[in-house]
């Protein structure tokens, strides 16, 4: 029998959990030994405070402006903004890395009411929620300044709005946690998010083309938004301003109803968790079949005869890794998509941004530079996703140059494919550049990519940082690796720009090609010469590399 006099009370349990979270935060800061990490943390905190503070001023000013012209109902727009921020942001921030810390509290003898209340308290401690509450507070201050008689209605509306939001956010969060407990779902989710962000770039051209004609339909659908929780605080305030107490009553009842409905659903969801719901990435155990398996197993794929076996094997492994990294494989779709977008904005017959289309002789090299910029960055931390497998490279009887070659060839293959696809898009949208520029651009690509790979290999061995598939939160490169990549891209970009410019100044369109061929040959020679010294670097730094990547 456990020697326990009494269970802690509800406030004591909440205080203990708050203390635990504080200690985790404090200890987390202590482990940020690297100066760059700490600087990153400080900068992101400052950016966060500036962001929330700036929007607080916006919320305050807009509330004042609406109230001064007696447009209380329009405050609903601000509540909609806060509602979307509060509900959407946590899904993506929390979604990419499953956190079971809240659920892990269940191993302690905690009552269900305590579990439920701590769950809601977690929701209020969320950064999106805290920012939202700050904005609601600034709006309330503005209401108190302009029209004090509206203050009781504002406080009531804000309290119910917070209750509805926190319960809804927790409810959605717990379902997202359930769905995202599977790695594949997490990766698809992340990829969809990035796709969504990229797709937003197309909004401007679409609105320019269809915006006017679609407006009546949008307004028709917009009327139904009044039924949503974010519209109800505006209804309460408008009713209060016009002394229409039935509107106040309806708005209050609606918002309270939403809060109770979401709270009830959350209660049911948490009760399932409280009873011991299993969320795990482990595959459910299957009965082992007694018969010999006859399915086709990995045969190793075709050989690439001109490459050493170790390089070929590495290359195949890399292809599998890219294909299985749902996010990485989906990002390969982005360059042709974005090039298409750029061509809508700056190229083609009717560009949406510039008055006249850019000439292919300018547009083509610029877009190719962008493709290299977008795709070469991961090679500066090329072992990020190896995890424990990194040990294998040092245990195998291979020279590290073969490992690097395999990885670099994979990137070269991806870049070649992407460049080809983007060239096809450009040829379709605005035509190819003149022959001297076309060939000079390809030679410049060889110079830039091969030259950067030698540097990137050194950076990967000297400043490795572990990253995980399908995660976004906490997935930062080493500060030095970012600095090296950034500097290298500037140097290579400026060099390429100067060489192209030199051709124009000299009036000789073939001059850049000649210079780039020479530079590309030098880059290839430098790259080949770097492989053996880099093998020594790998051997020298293997302990540090393994320690960082196998954490």
């Amino acid at each position: 029998m456990a020697d326990v006099a009494r269970l802690p009370t509800l406030p004591e349990q909440i205080r203990l959990v708050a203390g635990l979270r504080w200690r985790i935060l404090r200890n987390g800061l202590k482990t940020k030994a690297r100066v760059w990490d700490l600087i990153g943390l400080v900068i992101s905190s400052i950016v966060g405070v500036v962001f929330v503070g700036s929007l607080s001023i916006v919320f305050f000013s807009v509330t004042m402006a609406f109230l001064r012209v007696h447009r209380e109902a329009r405050l609903g727009l601000l509540f909609w903004g806060i509602f979307l921020w509060w509900q959407v942001l946590p899904i993506f921030v929390a979604g990419f890395s499953p956190s079971f810390s809240f659920r892990s509290l269940l191993r302690f003898p905690m009552s269900f009411p305590a579990f439920y209340l701590i769950g809601i308290a977690y929701g209020l401690a969320d950064s999106a929620a805290m920012a939202s509450i700050v904005w609601l507070f600034t709006m309330t201050v503005a209401v108190a300044i302009v029209n004090i008689s509206l203050l009781p209605a504002m406080i009531l509306a804000c309290a119910l709005f917070v209750a509805a939001n926190v319960t809804l956010e927790r409810l959605v969060g717990s379902w997202v946690e359930k769905i995202l407990s599977k790695r594949r779902a997490r990766e698809v989710f992340l990829a969809l998010f990035v796709m969504l962000m990229v797709s937003l770039q197309f909004l401007n051209p679409i609105l320019q083309k269809y915006g006017r004609s679609a407006r009546p339909e949008v307004e028709k659908v917009g009327r139904y938004s009044e039924l949503f929780p974010a519209s109800l605080p505006g209804k309460i305030l408008a009713g209060s301003g016009a002394n229409d107490f039935s509107a106040v009553g309806l708005g209050t009842a609606g918002l309270a109803g939403y809060a109770l409905f979401f709270g009830g659903l959350l209660l049911a969801r948490y009760r399932t968790q409280y009873r011991g719901e299993e969320l795990s990435e482990t595959v459910a155990p299957k009965r082992i079949s007694a018969k010999r398996v006859t399915e086709r197993r990995d045969g190793g794929g075709p050989e690439i005869r001109f490459l050493p076996v170790a390089v070929t094997v590495m290359l195949k492994k890399e292809i599998r890794y890219v294909l299985r990294n749902g996010f990485a494989s989906m990002t390969l779709l982005f360059p042709p998509m974005l090039v298409f977008l750029f061509s809508l904005q700056f190229g083609g017959a009717h560009p949406t941004v510039s008055n006249r289309p850019l000439s292919p002789d300018l547009f083509f090299p610029a877009v190719m530079g962008y493709v290299v910029l977008a795709l070469i960055a991961p090679s500066y931390n090329v072992f990020a996703f190896e995890g424990r497998g990194m040990q294998t490279y040092f245990m195998l009887p291979v020279k590290f140059r073969d490992v690097l070659l395999g990885k670099n060839l994979m990137l070269a293959a991806i870049l070649s494919t992407e460049i080809l696809l983007c060239a096809i898009v450009l040829a379709w949208r605005g035509g190819l550049p003149s022959a001297p520029t076309l060939f000079a651009t390809f030679a410049a690509l060889v110079f830039s990519v091969v030259g950067q790979l030698a540097l990137a290999n050194w950076s990967s061995l000297s400043f490795p940082k572990k990253m995980e598939f399908g995660k976004m939160q906490g997935q930062r490169q080493s500060g030095m690796a970012v600095l090296i990549a950034f500097s290298a891209q500037i140097v290579f970009g400026v060099t390429c720009g100067l060489v192209l410019f030199a051709g124009r100044v000299a009036g000789n369109p073939w001059l850049p090609l000649a210079i780039f061929v020479f530079l590309a040959a030098a880059a290839v020679a430098g790259y080949v010469a770097s492989l053996d010294p880099l093998t020594k670097v790998a051997e020298k730094k293997k302990e540090a590399i393994l320690e960082i990547l196998m954490k």
Binding site: R297, G300, E303, V313, Y321, P397
Partner: protein
């Protein structure tokens, strides 16, 4: 005298002020099933990492199968197999793909790699999930796969760091039989484990390391001779271990202090 599979001379590894392995002179004969024991933090994993090329010694020499590790690391690695502490698996590959990768890297041809992979996966009872990624394997399944990868090229020395941890009793039995067969055929096995019963049952020779120094080395018979047991009963490895490392149990925590647990 048998040929030596592993010889270390004054092998030392320092981490800053801490000397994890201190001037170790180790000799393991070919064909031995060798148990390497020590308390937590004694230097076992550091030693095995140095012997397998995962860690560079601060000083001293290592010879495996008569080849100097520092001079010909690739040649040594070709002859050895390793199940390291972290298992070293690429989690985004399937079991078959990982074995193919490792087999080909050890220089096996495609057909041999394929045949051996299939045999090993079936032997390890991993063959029923050809499409499952290693990330989705249980800990025990990962351990079995790491062992399969360590033996696919028929190594002459096999290094195993806690090979039975997390492996079920059925699979452990099959693995022990496999290892015993390898030693019968002349392979040398160098094993670390905290489970002394396993070491006692499998190993013919044992070395004990404590605070970075080798404090005992020899056959089980030789070690038993040095620690007399109770009358009419063979001394167990646990008794030998405790008498050497724990100084007769003097360093054991006093359970009486936790009287409130009873």
């Amino acid at each position: 005298m048998q040929d030596a599979a592993i010889i270390t001379e004054k092998l030392t590894r320092k981490f800053g002020a801490l000397t994890a392995v201190d001037g170790m002179d180790l000799r393991v004969a070919s064909g031995q099933f060798f148990g390497f024991l020590g308390p937590n933090g004694a230097g076992k994993s550091t030693t095995i990492k140095m012997l397998t090329g995962l860690l560079t010694p601060t000083s001293g020499r290592m010879q495996l199968l008569g080849i100097d590790f520092a001079e010909k690391p690739v040649e040594v690695k070709r002859q050895i197999g390793v199940v390291p502490e972290g298992m070293g698996l690429f989690e985004r590959l399937t079991g078959a793909e990982y074995l193919t990768f490792v087999g080909r890297m050890y220089g096996l041809d495609k057909l041999t790699t394929k045949q051996r992979s299939e045999e090993l996966l079936d032997f390890m009872q991993l063959g029923d999930r050809p499409k499952t990624m290693i990330a989705d394997y249980s800990h025990g399944m990962q351990k079995k796969l790491a062992l399969a990868a360590a033996v696919i090229h028929g190594p002459r020395i096999l290094f195993l760091d806690e090979p039975f941890e997390g492996v079920d009793a059925l699979a452990a039995g099959a693995l022990k039989a496999l290892l015993a067969r390898m030693t019968e055929r002349g392979a040398t096995i160098f094993l670390t484990s905290h489970v002394l019963e396993i070491v006692e049952r499998l190993c013919s020779h044992v070395a004990i390391i404590d605070k970075g120094m080798l404090v005992a080395q020899g056959s089980l018979v030789e070690l038993r001779a040095g620690v007399p047991g109770a009358e009419g009963r063979t001394t167990t490895l646990e008794e030998i271990f405790l008498s050497i490392v724990g100084q007769g149990g003097a360093e054991r925590p006093n359970v009486e202090e936790l009287s409130w647990l009873m």
